[in-house]
Symmetry: C2
Subunit: 95 residues, 2 copies
Amino acid sequence: MAEIKGNENIVFVGKKGTMSYVLAVVTQMNQLGASEVLIKARGRAISRAVDVAEIVKNKFMTNVKTDSIKISTEEISTDEGNPLKLSAIEIKIIK
Amino acid sequence: MAEIKGNENIVFVGKKGTMSYVLAVVTQMNQLGASEVLIKARGRAISRAVDVAEIVKNKFMTNVKTDSIKISTEEISTDEGNPLKLSAIEIKIIK
């Protein structure tokens, strides 16, 4: 059975609707055989990443739980080339 | 020396500017002698709560670290009396 390595199962949460990312996580877990998925987001998308993790756990996969949550600060470069600090989150869910 | 119990040191992050909450956390830790502060937020304010924790750690109190992060779903009642599910976060920082 195909087991995908931890770090490859990453869902980056951005500006799309919450359910797009919920579907991506559920697909990784159900169809691709992943036993863990890392949900990552930066800036304002952090709230949506928490929604995604909670909806997956409460509505779609009740056998899944939150394994760990990390927050950090990432420095990105704006379009004008200026540095910008953004908060980031990583939520690891496992089954 | 006055030591305040853990659960009483809570900063609820809402719609004000990020720095208001940073100041609240720093005040709790520096002036009120708290050794831990719980930063809580719901819904869209979750991103701001992560910003608050990161700014406190990186800019104001480098002796502080993140102890634990929990996410959950809370059911609140809207003004019309309808139930509404909201994601929530609790970030515990300690020194």
